[in-house]
Symmetry: C2
């Protein structure tokens, strides 16, 4: 069951932060791949969404980036900014909580 596009709205940046919390450092393309694999191809993040979202998170101070050359290709790795970890934890917890609320609200019908 492919996820309807609109559901992803607003959750993208928190998904990114959640994966970065778990993975020390990741690059944009990798975040898309991991998300796809871990959700059985149901949540598909697009390039046009992920990169602007990463820039915004960096501009807001939640993450920081560093460029590396790997196998002759340039990669831009991102990692969490530890000074904002409380904010980040709250965002992730809030999204998990929202998901639980949605389930409670709709599974009854």
């Amino acid at each position: 069951m492919k996820t309807r596009k609109e559901f992803l709205s607003g959750t993208l940046s928190t998904i990114i932060l959640g994966l970065l919390k778990e993975n020390d450092k990741m690059y944009g393309y990798e975040i898309c791949q991991v998300t796809k694999q871990r959700t059985n191809n149901e949540i598909v993040l697009t390039m046009g969404a992920i990169y602007p979202s990463l820039y915004k998170l960096e501009k807001e101070g939640y993450i920081k980036s560093s460029k590396e050359i790997v196998n002759g290709r340039s990669r831009k790795y991102y990692s969490l900014n530890p000074t904002t970890i409380n904010d980040i934890d709250n965002r992730i917890a809030s999204l998990l909580n929202f998901s639980q609320n949605i389930t409670n609200l709709l599974k009854i019908s």
Copy 2:
């Protein structure tokens, strides 16, 4: 834990359909109240969001409305259009599935 506003983006119309599936007929204000109560004040739908969303769902043929006067006040009741029940069931199932994917994706970290 109050839900961050952005998470609601894109899910509102499916929440409405989910509640209408369960409740035969409801009016906009009631949908807001029920959602608030059932989520311990965490999911708060706003008036500015709910009414335009109801109009759109009606225009798209998913729901139909009828006005009633109750206690001297006008109420606009909405109910599901049975001809679109398959679409509606798919939307609700897809949102529940999305919530499960989010949980699987983020609860690990």
